[in-house]
């Protein structure tokens, strides 16, 4: 070596992983201290895609600010919009029609499947298997087509509005969702053949990235990350919103707390979402898709908080209103930020290859972390 490689006094090497790196799924910057292949410390540096969305929302009206939240966790944009719409409705104290409630839940669960599909492909890609990514996208495209037909967009839909949904569902919606369910069920065994059952994959995932239940709670992990450690934290069960309390579904829990447990939680969650969709798709009640609201929304003075379960965990919207047409302050509680904080704890002592696998199982979406 011509120049000295940057290293600490005790002979460890400091490696900058990112912001441009294939494994960080965006612009996450990890400063890793490694000893050979063994990780001593992981230090995430954030802020490369910070767009001050919270500040932007303060200058937008209660109808307008919802579309911005699609750009945070772009993989579960429906669910983000849903949380905002719910929070505004809470402030306005309006009841929304049951038809729009069912449509919202259907869209949420479709989004959850789409998000987990993408995660599944990206997860396999992190471990060096390229093929599952394309196979996952085949199913995800089917969902995107459904979304495109009803909401008019494939990624940033802006379909949930205060009072209901923006448009009624497309006449083809029910038929196409049923087609998707058949497609998904016929393809889900491939996931086990290609990835889950594979001995190389299992060896890479089992017993690495251990996160105990106590640690998961103290780091504030939510969603599949915490449920992989056996922490019951599904907002749909604990603080049901919309019609979730009437639905029959299971909160997926795995007790091992390793990467494989987190992987299994997500894979099994897809089947649960399919079962929720199956319960609802034939039972969409007739009625309005939107409640009557005033042209200009004004929230009463006060503070409002609403949490929902996104594909990544507990997403919260906190609105402080001074009684005007725009919020005084908005704060989003994003699941990715807290989940990422556990990475250092999980990664210490494991190999560099494992770090990539762990980041995959945390299902990081960087714009969600930075906002």
């Amino acid at each position: 070596m011509v120049e000295e490689i940057a290293s600490t006094a005790d002979g460890n090497i400091i490696l900058n992983l990112g912001p441009q790196h294939p494994a960080t799924h965006g612009v996450l910057h990890l400063v890793i201290t490694i000893n050979g292949e063994t990780i001593q410390k992981v230090e995430p540096h954030l802020g490369y895609i910070h767009r001050s969305i919270e500040k932007m929302c303060e200058s937008l009206t209660y109808r307008q600010f919802i579309y911005v939240t699609s750009r945070m966790d772009y993989l579960s944009s429906h669910i983000n919009n849903h949380a905002c719409a719910l929070c505004v409705e809470k402030g306005l104290q309006i009841e929304i029609p049951s038809r729009s409630q069912v449509i919202r839940v259907l869209m949420d669960e479709l989004t959850r499947i789409a998000s987990h599909e993408l995660w599944w492909g990206a997860m396999a890609m992190d471990l060096g298997a390229f093929t599952p990514f394309f196979h996952a996208f085949r199913e995800r495209e089917a969902i995107n087509d459904i979304m495109e037909e009803t909401c008019g967009a494939r990624l940033t839909m802006n379909y949930m509005v205060p009072g209901g949904v923006m448009q009624d569902i497309h006449p083809n919606f029910q038929r196409r969702v049923k087609e998707f369910i058949t497609l998904f069920k016929s393809k889900v065994s491939e996931y086990n053949e290609l990835v889950t059952g594979n001995i190389i994959f299992q060896n890479r995932m089992k017993g690495v990235g251990n996160l105990s239940a106590a640690d998961a709670i103290s780091f504030g992990c939510t969603g599949p990350t915490a449920r992989g450690s056996g922490v019951s934290c599904d907002i749909r069960k604990l603080y049901p919103y919309e019609i979730y309390e009437k639905l029959d579904f299971e909160e997926i829990l795995e007790s091992d707390g390793d990467s494989f447990a987190r992987y299994m939680v997500r894979v099994r969650e897809m089947s649960q979402s399919i079962s929720i969709i199956e319960q609802l798709i034939d039972n969409i009640p007739e009625g309005d898709f939107q409640a009557k609201t005033k042209a200009v929304l004004k929230l009463p003075k006060g503070e409002f908080y609403q949490r929902v379960e996104t594909a990544r965990g507990d997403f919260g919207v906190y609105i402080v209103s001074e009684g005007g047409t725009t919020p005084y302050r908005i704060k989003y509680r994003s699941p990715g930020f807290s989940n990422l904080s556990a990475l250092d704890h999980m990664a210490r002592g494991s190999k560099l290859g494992d770090l990539v696998a762990m980041m995959g199982t945390l299902d990081l979406v960087i714009p969600d972390i930075d906002r």
Partner: protein, 158 residues
């Protein structure tokens, strides 16, 4: 027994690999499963759902008349100042002044296709078009005037 366990481990490991190989061989040999769409070639057959949000257009009928009253509801609904309505005063045959649009300026480069303007319009004067190939060489071309030249407001639209 140790040896038996070892052999079983090797056998199960190999079996899981063979299962994966069989799946990929299936896709390798079954080309009907290919899902690629060759985009620029299939332009003619490309069908977009009618709700697809491509860009905002103003609807004109055969008499070159539109339904925009210039009420600026869309301008107010837009989160990023994409729409700017410039109004003028028409003189009606009765000699009264009537507010009408002079220019409906639409900044496509700022638009996020959120559909809020279309929802806000009281007279359904604007809608989302399904065009999506918006690339141009000059940014100024993205600033569009949506009302056609010499177009008028349709009779009876208030």
């Amino acid at each position: 027994m140790f040896i038996l366990k070892y052999i079983k481990e090797v056998y199960n490991g190999l079996k899981s690999l063979v299962v994966g190989l069989r799946r990929t061989l299936y896709y390798f040999s079954h080309h009907k499963e290919i899902i690629t769409q060759q985009y620029p070639d299939n332009r003619d057959t490309l069908v977009f759902p009618d709700r697809f949000k491509g860009e905002v257009v103003m609807l004109h009928d055969d008499n070159n008349e539109h339904a925009c009253t210039g009420c600026t509801a869309c301008e107010l609904a837009c989160p990023n100042a994409t729409i700017k309505i410039i109004t003028k005063f028409d003189i009606t045959p009765e000699g009264k002044k009537k507010k009408a649009i002079d220019k409906f300026v639409y900044h496509l480069e700022l638009c996020t296709m959120c559909n809020l303007c279309v929802v806000a319009c009281p007279t359904n004067a604007i809608k989302m078009a399904q065009t999506f190939e918006h690339s141009v060489f000059n940014r100024a071309e993205l600033t569009k005037v949506l009302n056609k030249p010499a177009s008028k407001i349709r009779e009876g639209v208030e």
